[in-house]
C-alpha cells in the first residue's frame, strides 16, 4: 500500500462495496428523515407537505409511547438476563468432557438456525397453545388449569421464545471463551485453596467478562429490533407492543408514514445511545 498507484487501485476496488453500503444505509435513513417531517397519509390524501416537528411531538405524547419503551426495555433486559445466565451454565456444562460431545453441541446450537417466524409459530402452536399445547397437557396432567400463555403471560412468553432463540449464540461465544482459559490457572487456584464456587467467581467469571460484553452488545442491537416473534404471536396486544412494533402499527395499520418515520428516528437515537454506552464498556474491557 505504499505507492500512489497501489493506493488508488485499492480505492477503486473498495468503491463498489462502499457505494453499496452507503446506498443501503443512507437512502433509507434520509428517506425516513424526510418523511418524518411531512404529513404523509397514503390512503387519506397522500403527501400533504411539511408539518415541522409535529410528528415527533405526536409520537412521544401518544399514550402508547412510554408503555412501548418500557416493554422494549423489559423484553431486551429479560432476554439478556436469561441468555447470559443460562449461557454461562450451559457453556460450563458443555465444556465438561462427555460422550457424544460433538452431537450435543450441534443440537444446542440448532435453535439459532431456525427462522424467527418459525420459532414463534412452533412455540405458539406446539408449546403454548392453551388447548393442544405441550404445556397445557403438562398442566392438565397435574390437574391444573392450563395457562393461556400468550394472553395471561404474554410478554413473559415472548421473552421465553426470544431467549430460546438467542441462548445458543450466548452459549457458543461463552463456550469458546471458557475453552480458551488456561487450565493451569484453575489448578493454581485449586492449590491456592479456592473451592469450585470461588474458582468460578474469581477465575472463570473475570475471564468471561470480555465475551459477556460482546454477547450483551450484539444481542442488544438485534433484540431492539425484534418484530417477527411479536407479529406471529400476539400482534402487539396484551402489553407486548415494543417500540419497533408501535412504529410498524403507525405506518401500516394507521397508514401514517410521517408519524411512523418520526418514531423510526427515535428508535435510531435510542439504539445509538445504547450502542455508545456499550461500546465504552467494551472498549474499557478490551483495553485491560
Amino acid at each position: 500500500m505504499a505507492t500512489q498507484h497501489s493506493r488508488s487501485a485499492a480505492r477503486l476496488m473498495m468503491a463498489p462495496a462502499v457505494i453499496l453500503l452507503l446506498g443501503w444505509m443512507l437512502v433509507p435513513l434520509v428517506m425516513t428523515l424526510w418523511f418524518s417531517f411531512r404529513e404523509y397519509l397514503p390512503l387519506r390524501g397522500g403527501d400533504m407537505g411539511f408539518v415541522g416537528l409535529e410528528n415527533y411531538i405526536r409520537f412521544v405524547t401518544s399514550s402508547a409511547f412510554w408503555p412501548s419503551v418500557q416493554t422494549t426495555l423489559v423484553l431486551v433486559g429479560g432476554v439478556l438476563l436469561i441468555t447470559t445466565i443460562f449461557g454461562i451454565l450451559l457453556a460450563l456444562l458443555l465444556d465438561q468432557p462427555m460422550w457424544g460431545q460433538g452431537i450435543v453441541r450441534i443440537l444446542v446450537i440448532a435453535p439459532f438456525f431456525v427462522m424467527p417466524t418459525v420459532t414463534a409459530l412452533v412455540w405458539k402452536n406446539m408449546f403454548m397453545d392453551p388447548v393442544n399445547g405441550l404445556f397445557a397437557h403438562i398442566w392438565k396432567f397435574f390437574g391444573a388449569q392450563p395457562v393461556e400463555w400468550l394472553s395471561q403471560w404474554s410478554l413473559f412468553s415472548i421473552i421465553i421464545i426470544v431467549a430460546w432463540q438467542w441462548l445458543p449464540f450466548a452459549t457458543l461465544i461463552l463456550l469458546t471463551a471458557i475453552q480458551s482459559l488456561d487450565s493451569e490457572q484453575l489448578e493454581a487456584a485449586e492449590m491456592d485453596g479456592a473451592p469450585p464456587l470461588k474458582r468460578f467467581a474469581y477465575i472463570i467469571l473475570p475471564h468471561l467478562s470480555r465475551a459477556l460484553t460482546v454477547v450483551v452488545l450484539i444481542q442488544t442491537i438485534f433484540l431492539l429490533s425484534i418484530f417477527a416473534e411479536i407479529f406471529v404471536t400476539t400482534q402487539g396486544s396484551f402489553g407486548t407492543r415494543t417500540l419497533t412494533y408501535l412504529i410498524y402499527q403507525r405506518v401500516l395499520e394507521s397508514q401514517n408514514v410521517g408519524l411512523g418515520s418520526a418514531g423510526g428516528i427515535y428508535a435510531v437515537i435510542l439504539a445509538n445511545i445504547v450502542a455508545i454506552f456499550l461500546m465504552r464498556i467494551v472498549g474499557k474491557n478490551l483495553d485491560a
Partner: protein, 334 residues
C-alpha cells in the same frame, strides 16, 4: 517440615500405565530434582504429589500423614507452574494475596506477608501492576511469591524456567537456589534440562518411562551412573558410549568415557581418528572425532586454544580409571 514419602505409587490413564509402582523418599529441606526426557512421567509424578492427579494405587505421605486422598489445598504444598498460571485480571498484589484470602486470613496479616514476599523477590515497585505488564522473569517471581506467602511444607516447581530466555534462566536458577538456602524448605523441581538438575539439586531423581533409573547427588550420578541411560543423560556434552572390541577388551558389553576424560594429541595416543566438526567455546573446545570403523563421532574436550582443524589426524587417549563399564543389560559393572 516437609518430608514426602511415595509408597508404591502407581498411575494409569485408562489402559496406559504412566508410572508403574514407585517408591521415593524426599527428606525435609531437600532440593530434589526430577529429570528425564519429555514424556518420562516426571510432571505426572509432581502432579500426583500436588494432588492434581489421583493416584491409581499406593500411598503418598507428607510428614508421616497419609495425604493420598487429601485435597490439593490441604496438603500444605505450593506449586509454581510452567505457564506461571498468574490470574491476569488481578494486580500482582492480589495475585500474591489470593491464597491467603482464600484461607480467610486477616487483611493486616495478608498485607504484611505480601509486602515481605515482594521485598524478598524485588517485586515491591510492581505490586499494583497486572501480570500482562510484567516481563517473563518478573512473572516468574510473582508465581514464586504466590507460593512463598503460604509458607508451605514444600514447594513444587513444574519446569519453571522453560519459558525464559537463556540469560534469564541462569539468573533465576541462582535466585531459586538462593531462596532454597534461605527458606530451607523442601523443594521438588521438575526439569528436562540436566544442567538445571546438576546445578540446583541436593538429590537428583532420573526418570525414564515412569521408572526411577537412579537417585543420588549430582556428583554421584556423574561419577557412578547406575546404568547406560543415566550415564548418557547426565553430563554435557554426553558421555561417549563404545561397543564392540574396545568394550570386550575391558570385559564389558559397553564402555563409556566422558569427553573431558579423553586426552587429544596430534602425534600419539591409543585411538587414531580424524577431526570433524569442532565447537569453540573460548574456554573449551569440543572436537567431534571420527574413528575408523565407527559411524558415530566421539566427543572430546580440549583446552581453549588447540591448533587442530577439520580433517586433521588426531590421537585420543582415554583415562582408563575414568572409564565406565556396562553389561549387556546396560547396568554398571563396578
Amino acid at each position: 517440615m516437609g518430608r514426602i514419602v511415595l509408597d508404591k505409587v502407581k498411575k494409569t490413564f485408562g489402559e496406559v500405565t504412566v508410572i508403574p509402582p514407585l517408591d521415593l523418599e524426599i527428606e525435609d529441606g531437600e532440593f530434589v530434582v526430577f529429570v528425564g526426557p519429555s514424556g518420562c512421567g516426571k510432571s505426572t509424578l509432581l502432579r500426583l504429589i500436588a494432588g492434581l492427579e489421583d493416584v491409581s494405587s499406593g500411598q503418598i505421605r507428607i510428614d508421616g500423614q497419609d495425604a493420598t486422598n487429601v485435597a490439593p489445598a490441604k496438603r500444605g504444598l505450593a506449586m509454581v507452574f510452567q505457564s506461571y498460571a498468574l490470574y491476569p485480571h488481578m494486580s500482582v498484589r492480589k495475585n500474591i494475596a489470593f491464597p491467603l484470602k482464600m484461607a480467610k486470613m486477616e487483611q493486616a496479616e495478608i498485607d504484611r506477608r505480601v509486602d515481605s514476599a515482594a521485598s524478598v523477590l524485588n517485586l515491591t515497585p510492581y505490586l499494583e501492576r497486572r501480570p500482562g505488564q510484567l516481563s517473563g522473569g518478573q512473572r516468574q517471581r510473582v508465581a514464586i511469591g504466590r507460593a512463598i506467602v503460604r509458607e508451605p511444607a514444600a514447594f513444587l516447581f513444574d519446569e519453571p524456567l522453560s519459558n525464559l530466555d537463556a540469560a534469564l534462566r541462569v539468573g533465576m536458577r541462582l535466585e531459586i537456589s538462593e531462596l532454597h538456602k534461605r527458606l530451607a524448605t523442601t523443594m521438588v523441581y521438575v526439569t528436562h534440562d540436566q544442567v538445571e538438575a546438576m546445578t540446583m539439586a541436593d538429590k537428583i531423581v532420573v526418570l525414564q518411562a515412569g521408572v526411577i533409573e537412579q537417585v543420588g547427588s549430582p556428583l554421584t550420578l556423574y561419577h557412578t551412573p547406575r546404568n547406560k541411560f543415566v550415564a548418557g543423560f547426565i553430563g554435557s556434552p554426553r558421555m561417549n558410549l563404545l561397543e564392540g572390541p574396545e568394550a570386550q577388551k575391558r570385559g564389558a558389553h559397553t564402555v563409556g568415557i566422558r569427553p573431558e576424560h579423553i586426552t587429544p594429541s596430534p602425534t600419539e595416543g591409543l585411538w587414531k581418528g580424524r577431526v570433524g566438526v569442532s565447537e569453540h567455546l573460548g574456554s573449551d573446545t569440543f572436537f567431534h572425532v571420527h574413528l575408523e570403523g565407527r559411524d558415530e563421532p566421539i566427543t572430546v574436550r580440549a583446552g581453549g586454544e588447540v591448533d587442530m582443524h577439520h580433517g586433521d589426524t588426531i590421537w585420543l587417549t582415554p583415562d582408563e580409571s575414568r572409564m565406565h563399564r556396562f553389561d549387556k543389560a546396560g547396568l554398571r559393572i563396578s
